[in-house]
Symmetry: C5
Subunit: 347 residues, 5 copies
């Protein structure tokens, strides 16, 4: 968040990159299609960017949002509001949707697991215009490969419907990916559950880090619910009723994701309870061993101490069977104690 | 949930079975009736499925939703939306209701206890059309036998009212079954309550597993409330006012089910408190025994240790009644201690 | 709840008694009045039940709802909906209100303390018609004696206003009785507070049972709030504005009852905290005694043990004042320890 | 609350005093004013109470609400609803506002600290009519002296504006007094915070009593928020827009009061956590002392016990430097132990 | 809060300074500008304050609100409501917005870190009029320097848009500063997390103070959300649609700030759990050491005590290898114990 503070004092609407730069130079790529035609240009030069024809649906993708002059150029080209440009370059945005006169602006967070299993969290801005969709990502590599494949192969209805359906398909791909992430968390939580049986200091640390991560996950995903429901409420002219029906499906998924996160959080808190209870149980066990041993042997030690005294006159010491009598008392006391603890169900 | 991830990258509306296949081949069965006539065909062949006559009410039931081509066939036949077909085949749906122009689609979860007492959780899709009801289940065997019996015997108003009443009767049967499941949970909770008096490590594990199960139960049943209230709100033309009155009854039941689950959760958390408090109490008891024994005998052991020393000059050792004097001191100390602990109400 | 499960598979609207039968045969009684006239018939025979004249207000009371044929007879007579009849006979209803075209149906729970102080929980159904009120109880004996007395003695406005005022008066009597019950809980909670000062295992059990009972109390009373507010919202033609003003008063009372229950619950949770803290405190005290005694005497025991060894060559043993020197050391160590613990404020 | 139960069975609208009688006879006093004229009559006789002239604003105050016949007399005089009269005499009311055709009825609780610092909690009813304000208190002595002074001295706008401004001024005085009470609680909480550093059993009791008192305070003040917002919502013709602007100010204050109470409650719960953690810490410290002492001396006691045995054949006892060797071992063990605990950072 | 109580009994609308006076004399400064012209006057004398020309946008700033006569003078000059003047001088206000006919009044709290890192909390009142903005602060030095710089240098759109944009720019600067404060809290929380690994009494105190501070922070910032959303709802004529779009951005930021505070609070509570769990773990470790040592050596001490008794007849003492046999038993017992604890995984 440290870049955030640098921004303080800047005029609102100043396009300023506030994240960590993750790639060298930005890459533009363009896909445009009709039900019949499909064109794909990777590594598009900025100069060749012309106004999109209204008879084609265009999808312009930018990898790398650190080049603020490029973003401002795009902003002028597509007539975007300065605050939208500011939001695109600020990579700590909360997911949100904003409706402008001739475009809809959505910020989402794209979550995916790296090959090593760590969670990648990238901001993506999606802009839906009249005949185009604009996507702006922090780094190359995204979750949209299946969408591109469907476009190329003309599979399903994707090339028949317009830009709003593409917009939907991209958001759907992002939300679907949350399930993969949740599955991996589910597995980690299950692994932790097995582990709490082993008395281990690391349990509480893992528990605590899982709690934190689900907390951040929730923060990331929670705004989705409102974002999607405002899509229905606001009734943008850019969005056909047919596509809105599909969005209801994404909404269902996002509720399911949020539900699952809530359940994870409750599971973690229940694991915490079990862990504490186990520690308490162990402590009880340790104390019982100490108490049983002490309670049996401390009085006996006292007893044999008595006959270790050196008084001149100690009649018992002279008795023929004194020593054996003491052993008798010792055994009697020890056995009584054992019975007593048995009855109290201490062992 | 692992099948869910396989679905990632698929086009929305792709009918793909995401559950665990629980039976070999799907079975269709058809019931059609008027107040006077009743026909029942089990193991219907797909080819013989003709458009339902509007003068009869038809109930088509499918056991097994893993055959996606069959589901797509039904979809074309009844003119269902692709997303509905997708939801039917995805067996991890959250309960929900969706209103389409010429049908209402409901997903519910059918809970019943197996003969061995484990909880069976099956997804059921119910579609209400103009003159028909379509039910799609994961496995054969359902909670609808009493409804079928009422249909066959023409008992009550069920054959007099149309498809919407049948729709209601099926949902009612599912919600009624929740009470049976709740009763069994109620009994398990009561059993657990008796058990916490016995100091037992398993208590916390059972408690934890019951908490988890009620959590999942709540997740399953919670959406019902909204689902049913949206039935009243949306005012589908497929649903007569007369039947809506009956739905108010189901709504009452579902609120009662949710209330009961909430109470179960609070009971479990109160059992947890009692359990922790009991463990604390036990620990206190154990510590008191240890402390009483140690406090009485450790000073006495010290005392007899003193007279076990081998100094040349120890006047007390020569005294005639030294030994008995020591016993006197021992008894005095021990008895004082006992009185002290009594006064402190330690035992 | 076990009867509930028997009901599974029954047609909706089937009148079936699901409670525990608490009396042998049902008893009907009828009160009818105008401002001038008052008639009271106890033990009315069903055959003599004629349609109520519109110039009189009639109050028909039934004790015992297990006779389903009787209830069905009444249902036909007063033209009640089958679901209403089903609810009357199902004695596990949640409090609710339902508005029908020509009557209002209310289910409440009547709480009163038996002579032995245990809580009696009885379901009562109240039906307000055009010129009549119908009350259906599980057992004879109710909270309405003061209302009957006011009717007989023509005290206040009760005979001047119509059936809706009677309806109000009955509900008011039921809600007023909740205060009596709450008072008794208040006393039990106060008694428990005194008790936690005494270290006692029963505290946690009483605490736990009080928590459970207030939980059930809340479940019983909570729906009242919505029930009463829907009276204002729905604007039934059966209810005059004048009487609705009185209902606002009942609503205030019910909010006060719910507030009090919430406060009871918070008090109980605060008592729980104090109890746990007390147990912790006691444990600390016990541990301190053990530690003080052990810390003083264990080193001293070691010391006297040293001079109890039987080595041939132990110069100190030969010293004239060796023994007294050891006592000097013992006293010095013991006194230092005591000072040390004093400074640490351990006692 | 015990008087409440006496009321059970009374007809609604029965004026019956349910509190504890706190003074002997009720006292009426009357203030009437125009911008120019000011009259004040204390100890007014009931007979001399005439209908208030519409050219003057009148403020009638009654100290003592136990005289039900007097209240009924006032009720007839000002044409008050029977339920209003009942509420005036029932001194356990929840704060509320009720709008009648020709008056507004407000019940509030007047909190002030007695000279000894205990919290006084008195019910006050305020009735705003066309040209008059009626206040009814349980005991003489109130928070309105500054208002009377402003009236007498004609300071500010109070005599220029009508009865609704007086109504506002009285409520404002009551809400302002809450801040004084909150300050005293704030000081007690701060004092408690200092105290938890000293290990003390009373802490938990004070904590618990403060929790309870803030709970009751919240119950008393919470309804204010809704009460004041309904003032804006209901738009009574008795209240001018100008005065409503002032009420917005009271509303701000009441939100601030509620906020402060919530913060107090969170502070108390945080103090509780610190207290528990401190007790845990102390316990740890005590246990560490015990463990260090025991771990060092118990093995050494064993060692010297070995050479205190009386076996005929014990070669070490004959050795010239055996005794000194044992001392060497003792010192070595003791010093090693001390180093070990140091390294574990136990002291 | 102690000044608050002094205010009790004052007429509403009395301008009375209730804070701590932080500077000697108040300082007025004026900035007025058009897109072309820029004038700045510091240390303006009150007499020279003339009505602002409508062709310029004026920003009047007052440092120091303790001079109530000055505030009343300004109030008359700008025609402010007495309650607004009262709020300006009361420096314990909750953030709020109030809409008057010809101005909008906002109270905010300006948070910034002093050079030493302590949190400065200052109240600021901002008034938006037709052509002017009025800011009133407690002390000189504010967060508006960047705004002044943008005005002086005519950078961006600030001099082109009117007073409402200035109003926005000031609020934006205040909200932006919250991020700086949050960052510093984030760092303190991270530092605390590292610290809990070291067993330390201060942890709980720092934890508790951080909890309290985030609580107060939340109280300060929470009302912002509603304040900003009421800006959109109320539709003041003083605010153009263009500027409202910018306010949506501030609203996003404030939600992000509140989210972050909530996450801080959850993190702190999770740190608390880890801390408690660590203390429990340590206690377990300490107890285990004690128990292992005691359990091994107490029985052995008893054993050697037996052979330290002085009975005349103790056959074992005469045996040739008795002493070595005892050592054998000792070693056997000790080693068995060690194995036993190993198997129980105690060390």
């Amino acid at each position: 968040m440290s870049k955030k503070s640098m921004k303080q004092g800047q005029a609102p609407g100043t396009v300023m990159f506030t994240g960590e730069q993750k790639m060298e130079s930005s890459i533009l790529s363009l896909i445009s299609y009709t039900p019949e035609v499909f064109n794909e240009t990777t590594d598009l030069e900025l100069e060749r960017l012309s106004t999109f024809a209204s008879d084609k649906t265009s999808w312009l993708n930018l990898d790398g949002v650190h080049d603020t002059s490029l973003i401002e150029h795009l902003g002028r080209h597509f007539n975007l509001h300065p605050l939208t440009l500011e939001d695109i370059a600020s990579t700590q945005q909360r997911p949100k949707i904003e409706f402008f006169d001739d475009y809809v602006y959505v910020v989402l967070r794209m979550l995916h697991l790296s090959d090593k299993g760590t969670l990648q969290n990238e901001q993506i801005s999606i802009i839906l215009g009249k005949h185009f969709v604009l996507t702006l990502q922090e780094i190359p590599g995204d979750l949209f490969e299946p969408v591109r494949k469907r476009l190329r192969t003309n599979k399903g209805r994707i090339r028949k419907l317009g830009a709003d359906y593409l917009f939907y398909a991209l958001i759907d791909a992002i939300v679907d990916a949350y399930f993969i992430v949740l599955e991996s968390y589910g597995e980690r939580i299950e692994a932790l559950e097995d582990q709490i049986l082993h008395y281990d200091k690391q349990v509480i640390e893992q528990l605590s880090s899982l709690k934190r991560e689900t907390l951040l996950l929730r923060k990331t995903i929670w705004p989705l619910r409102e974002l999607l429901s405002s899509l229905h409420r606001e009734e943008s002219p850019l969005m056909s009723n047919e596509v809105l029906t599909f969005f209801r499906d994404v909404q269902d998924h996002s509720i399911q994701v949020i539900d699952t996160i809530e359940i994870f959080r409750e599971l973690l808190s229940s694991i915490h309870d079990v862990h504490l209870s186990n520690m308490s149980y162990r402590m009880n066990e340790v104390m019982k061993v100490l108490t049983i041993i002490s309670t049996i042997f401390i009085p006996l030690s006292f007893l044999v101490g008595v006959y270790g005294m050196n008084f001149k006159v100690m009649p018992e010491l002279e008795w023929q069977y004194g020593y054996f009598g003491v052993w008798g008392i010792i055994l009697f006391v020890a056995i009584s104690m054992v019975f007593y603890f048995r009855r109290k169900k201490w062992f």
